[in-house]
Amino acid sequence: MALRLGADFVAGVLVGAVFGWGFDALLGTSPWGLIVFLLLGFAAGILSLLRTAGLIAKRPGLDDDAAFRRFD
Protein backbone atom coordinates (compact mmCIF):
# COMPACT_ATOMS: atom_id res chain seq x y z
CA MET A 1 0.00 0.00 0.00
CA ALA A 2 2.78 2.43 0.90
CA LEU A 3 4.53 1.98 -2.43
CA ARG A 4 1.19 2.25 -4.21
CA LEU A 5 0.64 5.70 -2.71
CA GLY A 6 4.25 6.65 -3.38
CA ALA A 7 4.01 5.62 -7.03
CA ASP A 8 0.81 7.64 -7.47
CA PHE A 9 2.39 10.79 -6.10
CA VAL A 10 5.73 10.41 -7.86
CA ALA A 11 3.99 9.74 -11.18
CA GLY A 12 2.03 13.00 -10.90
CA VAL A 13 5.15 15.04 -10.21
CA LEU A 14 7.06 13.23 -12.97
CA VAL A 15 4.37 13.90 -15.56
CA GLY A 16 4.25 17.56 -14.48
CA ALA A 17 8.02 17.85 -14.76
CA VAL A 18 8.12 16.23 -18.22
CA PHE A 19 5.27 18.44 -19.46
CA GLY A 20 6.92 21.57 -18.10
CA TRP A 21 10.26 20.64 -19.57
CA GLY A 22 8.69 19.96 -22.98
CA PHE A 23 6.68 23.20 -22.79
CA ASP A 24 9.86 25.16 -22.08
CA ALA A 25 11.80 23.38 -24.79
CA LEU A 26 9.10 24.14 -27.37
CA LEU A 27 8.32 27.76 -26.44
CA GLY A 28 11.58 28.84 -24.82
CA THR A 29 9.91 30.06 -21.64
CA SER A 30 12.40 28.42 -19.30
CA PRO A 31 12.07 28.14 -16.36
CA TRP A 32 8.44 29.26 -15.97
CA GLY A 33 6.81 26.30 -17.69
CA LEU A 34 8.72 23.89 -15.48
CA ILE A 35 7.78 25.77 -12.32
CA VAL A 36 4.07 26.02 -13.15
CA PHE A 37 3.71 22.47 -14.49
CA LEU A 38 5.68 21.02 -11.59
CA LEU A 39 3.26 22.66 -9.14
CA LEU A 40 0.26 21.43 -11.15
CA GLY A 41 1.84 17.97 -11.30
CA PHE A 42 2.27 18.14 -7.53
CA ALA A 43 -1.44 18.88 -7.21
CA ALA A 44 -2.30 16.05 -9.62
CA GLY A 45 -0.10 13.68 -7.63
CA ILE A 46 -1.82 14.63 -4.36
CA LEU A 47 -5.20 14.24 -6.08
CA SER A 48 -4.56 10.71 -7.33
CA LEU A 49 -2.92 9.85 -3.99
CA LEU A 50 -6.02 10.92 -2.07
CA ARG A 51 -8.20 8.98 -4.52
CA THR A 52 -6.13 5.86 -4.03
CA ALA A 53 -6.34 6.27 -0.26
CA GLY A 54 -10.11 6.65 -0.62
CA LEU A 55 -10.14 9.98 1.24
CA ILE A 56 -12.06 11.76 -1.53
CA ALA A 57 -14.61 10.59 -4.10
CA LYS A 58 -13.14 8.28 -6.73
CA ARG A 59 -14.74 10.27 -9.51
CA PRO A 60 -15.30 14.00 -9.74
CA GLY A 61 -18.81 15.20 -8.97
CA LEU A 62 -19.79 12.02 -7.20
CA ASP A 63 -20.69 13.69 -3.93
CA ASP A 64 -22.88 10.90 -2.62
CA ASP A 65 -20.03 8.41 -2.90
CA ALA A 66 -19.73 6.25 0.19
CA ALA A 67 -16.08 7.15 0.59
CA PHE A 68 -17.02 10.82 0.58
CA ARG A 69 -19.89 10.53 3.00
CA ARG A 70 -17.63 9.14 5.69
CA PHE A 71 -15.92 12.52 6.02
CA ASP A 72 -19.04 14.70 6.04
Partner: protein
Protein backbone atom coordinates in the same frame (compact mmCIF):
# COMPACT_ATOMS: atom_id res chain seq x y z
CA UNK B 1 31.07 -10.84 -10.57
CA UNK B 2 28.79 -13.66 -9.47
CA UNK B 3 27.23 -11.35 -6.89
CA UNK B 4 26.61 -8.41 -9.22
CA UNK B 5 22.97 -7.65 -8.36
CA UNK B 6 22.24 -5.98 -11.70
CA UNK B 7 23.62 -8.77 -13.87
CA UNK B 8 20.33 -10.69 -13.76
CA UNK B 9 18.52 -7.93 -15.64
CA UNK B 10 20.85 -7.84 -18.63
CA UNK B 11 19.26 -8.51 -21.98
CA UNK B 12 21.25 -10.47 -24.51
CA UNK B 13 20.35 -11.60 -27.99
CA UNK B 14 19.68 -15.28 -28.50
CA UNK B 15 18.71 -15.16 -32.19
CA UNK B 16 19.79 -11.91 -33.89
CA UNK B 17 17.11 -10.74 -36.33
CA UNK B 18 17.24 -7.44 -38.16
CA UNK B 19 14.48 -6.20 -40.47
CA UNK B 20 15.17 -3.01 -42.40
CA UNK B 21 17.74 -1.70 -39.92
CA UNK B 22 15.42 -2.26 -36.95
CA UNK B 23 16.52 -4.73 -34.28
CA UNK B 24 13.94 -7.50 -33.87
CA UNK B 25 16.29 -9.93 -32.15
CA UNK B 26 14.89 -12.77 -30.10
CA UNK B 27 16.29 -11.97 -26.64
CA UNK B 28 16.25 -13.74 -23.30
CA UNK B 29 13.39 -11.37 -22.37
CA UNK B 30 11.42 -12.56 -25.41
CA UNK B 31 12.24 -16.17 -24.53
CA UNK B 32 10.82 -15.76 -21.03
CA UNK B 33 7.73 -14.02 -22.39
CA UNK B 34 7.19 -17.10 -24.56
CA UNK B 35 7.79 -19.33 -21.52
CA UNK B 36 5.26 -17.24 -19.56
CA UNK B 37 2.58 -17.45 -22.24
CA UNK B 38 3.17 -21.16 -22.89
CA UNK B 39 3.08 -22.12 -19.20
CA UNK B 40 0.03 -19.96 -18.52
CA UNK B 41 -1.80 -21.44 -21.52
CA UNK B 42 -0.74 -24.94 -20.54
CA UNK B 43 -1.98 -24.39 -16.98
CA UNK B 44 -5.39 -23.18 -18.10
CA UNK B 45 -5.90 -25.55 -21.04
CA UNK B 46 -4.68 -28.70 -19.31
CA UNK B 47 -6.51 -28.00 -16.06
CA UNK B 48 -9.79 -27.28 -17.85
CA UNK B 49 -9.47 -30.33 -20.12
CA UNK B 50 -11.26 -32.67 -17.71
CA UNK B 51 -14.38 -30.45 -17.60
CA UNK B 52 -15.45 -32.22 -14.43
CA UNK B 53 -18.63 -31.14 -12.76
CA UNK B 54 -16.78 -31.83 -9.54
CA UNK B 55 -13.43 -30.22 -10.29
CA UNK B 56 -10.16 -31.92 -9.52
CA UNK B 57 -7.20 -30.12 -7.94
CA UNK B 58 -5.91 -28.44 -11.10
CA UNK B 59 -9.35 -27.54 -12.35
CA UNK B 60 -10.16 -26.04 -8.94
CA UNK B 61 -7.06 -23.88 -9.10
CA UNK B 62 -7.97 -22.62 -12.58
CA UNK B 63 -11.57 -21.97 -11.51
CA UNK B 64 -10.42 -20.06 -8.42
CA UNK B 65 -8.25 -17.78 -10.57
CA UNK B 66 -11.06 -17.28 -13.07
CA UNK B 67 -13.69 -16.47 -10.45
CA UNK B 68 -11.31 -14.24 -8.53
CA UNK B 69 -10.63 -12.04 -11.54
CA UNK B 70 -14.29 -12.11 -12.61
CA UNK B 71 -15.41 -10.99 -9.14
CA UNK B 72 -12.79 -8.22 -9.01
CA UNK B 73 -13.92 -6.91 -12.38
CA UNK B 74 -17.63 -7.18 -11.59
CA UNK B 75 -17.23 -5.40 -8.24
CA UNK B 76 -15.36 -2.52 -9.85
CA UNK B 77 -17.31 -2.03 -13.08
CA UNK B 78 -20.61 -3.87 -12.72
CA UNK B 79 -21.73 -6.66 -15.05
CA UNK B 80 -21.43 -4.16 -17.89
CA UNK B 81 -17.65 -4.34 -17.58
CA UNK B 82 -17.51 -8.09 -18.10
CA UNK B 83 -16.85 -7.42 -21.80
CA UNK B 84 -13.33 -6.51 -20.68
CA UNK B 85 -12.86 -9.80 -18.86
CA UNK B 86 -10.57 -11.32 -21.52
CA UNK B 87 -8.27 -8.27 -21.32
CA UNK B 88 -8.11 -8.12 -17.52
CA UNK B 89 -7.74 -11.88 -17.15
CA UNK B 90 -4.94 -12.02 -19.75
CA UNK B 91 -3.09 -9.15 -18.06
CA UNK B 92 -3.46 -10.70 -14.61
CA UNK B 93 -2.35 -14.17 -15.72
CA UNK B 94 0.54 -12.83 -17.79
CA UNK B 95 1.91 -10.65 -14.97
CA UNK B 96 1.33 -13.33 -12.34
CA UNK B 97 3.14 -16.00 -14.34
CA UNK B 98 5.93 -13.63 -15.41
CA UNK B 99 6.50 -12.64 -11.77
CA UNK B 100 6.40 -16.20 -10.47
CA UNK B 101 8.65 -17.56 -13.23
CA UNK B 102 11.10 -14.79 -12.36
CA UNK B 103 11.37 -16.28 -8.86
CA UNK B 104 13.27 -19.32 -10.20
CA UNK B 105 17.04 -18.94 -9.74
CA UNK B 106 18.83 -17.97 -12.99
CA UNK B 107 15.53 -17.08 -14.65
CA UNK B 108 14.84 -13.71 -16.19
CA UNK B 109 12.05 -11.55 -14.76
CA UNK B 110 10.15 -10.07 -17.70
CA UNK B 111 8.26 -7.53 -15.58
CA UNK B 112 11.46 -6.06 -14.11
CA UNK B 113 11.93 -4.03 -17.29
CA UNK B 114 10.17 -0.69 -17.54
CA UNK B 115 9.47 -1.03 -21.26
CA UNK B 116 7.40 -4.19 -20.68
CA UNK B 117 5.30 -2.65 -17.92
CA UNK B 118 4.85 0.57 -19.89
CA UNK B 119 3.59 -1.47 -22.84
CA UNK B 120 1.11 -3.28 -20.57
CA UNK B 121 -0.05 0.02 -19.03
CA UNK B 122 -0.46 1.59 -22.47
CA UNK B 123 -2.65 -1.32 -23.56
CA UNK B 124 -4.91 -0.51 -20.60
CA UNK B 125 -4.95 3.26 -21.12
CA UNK B 126 -5.37 2.85 -24.88
CA UNK B 127 -8.41 0.69 -24.24
CA UNK B 128 -9.81 3.20 -21.75
CA UNK B 129 -9.42 6.19 -24.09
CA UNK B 130 -10.54 4.35 -27.24
CA UNK B 131 -13.54 2.69 -25.66
CA UNK B 132 -14.47 5.81 -23.67
CA UNK B 133 -14.61 7.98 -26.78
CA UNK B 134 -16.31 5.31 -28.88
CA UNK B 135 -19.07 4.71 -26.37
CA UNK B 136 -19.59 8.19 -24.90
CA UNK B 137 -18.20 10.46 -27.58
CA UNK B 138 -17.23 13.85 -26.16
CA UNK B 139 -19.13 13.02 -22.96
CA UNK B 140 -16.05 11.02 -22.04
CA UNK B 141 -14.33 14.35 -21.37
CA UNK B 142 -16.72 14.86 -18.45
CA UNK B 143 -14.24 12.67 -16.63
CA UNK B 144 -12.04 15.74 -16.33
CA UNK B 145 -14.65 18.31 -15.31
CA UNK B 146 -16.08 17.99 -11.80
CA UNK B 147 -19.66 19.21 -11.61
CA UNK B 148 -20.72 22.08 -9.38
CA UNK B 149 -17.44 23.95 -9.55
CA UNK B 150 -17.13 27.77 -9.72
CA UNK B 151 -16.31 28.82 -13.29
CA UNK B 152 -12.99 30.58 -12.51
CA UNK B 153 -11.59 27.39 -10.99
CA UNK B 154 -12.69 25.14 -13.84
CA UNK B 155 -9.63 25.48 -16.13
CA UNK B 156 -7.14 24.85 -13.33
CA UNK B 157 -9.03 21.88 -11.89
CA UNK B 158 -9.61 20.40 -15.34
CA UNK B 159 -5.93 20.68 -16.10
CA UNK B 160 -5.00 19.03 -12.81
CA UNK B 161 -7.47 16.23 -13.59
CA UNK B 162 -5.88 15.76 -17.02
CA UNK B 163 -2.40 15.60 -15.50
CA UNK B 164 -3.70 13.13 -12.93
CA UNK B 165 -5.13 11.02 -15.75
CA UNK B 166 -1.87 11.08 -17.70
CA UNK B 167 0.06 10.09 -14.59
CA UNK B 168 -2.03 6.91 -14.29
CA UNK B 169 -0.16 4.79 -16.85
CA UNK B 170 3.10 6.16 -15.41
CA UNK B 171 2.27 5.06 -11.88
CA UNK B 172 0.74 1.80 -13.11
CA UNK B 173 3.92 0.81 -14.94
CA UNK B 174 6.43 2.21 -12.44
CA UNK B 175 4.75 0.42 -9.52
CA UNK B 176 5.04 -3.04 -11.08
CA UNK B 177 8.52 -2.46 -12.50
CA UNK B 178 9.92 -0.91 -9.31
CA UNK B 179 8.52 -3.66 -7.10
CA UNK B 180 10.02 -6.44 -9.19
CA UNK B 181 13.36 -4.67 -9.76
CA UNK B 182 13.84 -3.65 -6.12
CA UNK B 183 12.76 -7.04 -4.79
CA UNK B 184 15.13 -8.99 -7.00
CA UNK B 185 18.05 -6.65 -6.28
CA UNK B 186 17.46 -6.89 -2.52
CA UNK B 187 17.28 -10.65 -2.73
CA UNK B 188 20.49 -10.81 -4.73
CA UNK B 189 22.36 -8.42 -2.43
CA UNK B 190 21.45 -10.38 0.70
CA UNK B 191 22.29 -13.67 -0.98
CA UNK B 192 25.57 -12.10 -2.06
CA UNK B 193 26.37 -11.32 1.61
CA UNK B 194 26.06 -15.01 2.41
CA UNK B 195 28.61 -15.97 -0.24
CA UNK B 196 31.03 -13.16 0.64
CA UNK B 197 30.87 -13.72 4.42
CA UNK B 198 31.03 -17.48 4.03
CA UNK B 199 34.45 -17.24 2.42
CA UNK B 200 35.90 -15.43 5.47
CA UNK B 201 36.43 -18.41 7.78
CA UNK B 202 34.54 -19.54 10.88
CA UNK B 203 33.49 -16.09 12.07
CA UNK B 204 32.30 -15.30 8.57
CA UNK B 205 30.21 -18.46 8.34
CA UNK B 206 28.61 -17.64 11.69
CA UNK B 207 27.99 -14.10 10.51
CA UNK B 208 26.45 -15.40 7.31
CA UNK B 209 23.54 -16.93 9.25
CA UNK B 210 21.82 -13.57 9.53
CA UNK B 211 21.76 -12.68 5.81
CA UNK B 212 20.82 -16.28 5.03
CA UNK B 213 17.78 -15.97 7.28
CA UNK B 214 16.99 -12.63 5.66
CA UNK B 215 17.25 -14.22 2.20
CA UNK B 216 14.78 -16.95 3.16
CA UNK B 217 12.36 -14.37 4.58
CA UNK B 218 12.78 -12.12 1.53
CA UNK B 219 12.09 -15.02 -0.83
CA UNK B 220 8.76 -15.57 0.89
CA UNK B 221 8.07 -11.83 0.72
CA UNK B 222 8.91 -11.79 -2.98
CA UNK B 223 6.38 -14.52 -3.68
CA UNK B 224 3.81 -12.37 -1.90
CA UNK B 225 4.86 -9.31 -3.91
CA UNK B 226 4.74 -11.29 -7.17
CA UNK B 227 1.10 -12.25 -6.60
CA UNK B 228 0.13 -8.95 -5.01
CA UNK B 229 1.48 -6.80 -7.82
CA UNK B 230 -0.37 -8.85 -10.42
CA UNK B 231 -3.52 -8.32 -8.36
CA UNK B 232 -2.88 -4.56 -7.93
CA UNK B 233 -2.35 -4.20 -11.67
CA UNK B 234 -5.61 -6.03 -12.37
CA UNK B 235 -7.58 -4.02 -9.78
CA UNK B 236 -6.32 -0.69 -11.13
CA UNK B 237 -7.10 -1.84 -14.67
CA UNK B 238 -10.67 -2.49 -13.50
CA UNK B 239 -10.90 0.95 -11.87
CA UNK B 240 -9.64 2.71 -14.99
CA UNK B 241 -11.97 0.69 -17.23
CA UNK B 242 -14.79 1.78 -14.94
CA UNK B 243 -13.98 5.38 -15.88
CA UNK B 244 -14.31 4.46 -19.55
CA UNK B 245 -17.67 2.82 -18.89
CA UNK B 246 -19.13 5.46 -16.57
CA UNK B 247 -17.34 8.79 -16.95
CA UNK B 248 -18.48 11.78 -14.93
CA UNK B 249 -21.94 10.71 -13.77
Amino acid sequence: MATDPIHQFQIHKLVPIEVGGVDFSFTNSALFMVVTVVSASAFLILSARGRGLVPGRWQSAAEVVYEFVAKTLRDATGSDGMRFFPLVFSLFIFILFANLIGMFPYFFTVTSHLIITVALAMIVMGTVVFYGFRRHGLHFLKLFTPSGLPAPLLPVVTFIEVLSFISRPVSLSIRLFANMLAGHITLKVFAGFVATLGSLGVAGVLGAILPLAATVALTALEFLVAALQAYVFAVLTCLYLNDALHPGH
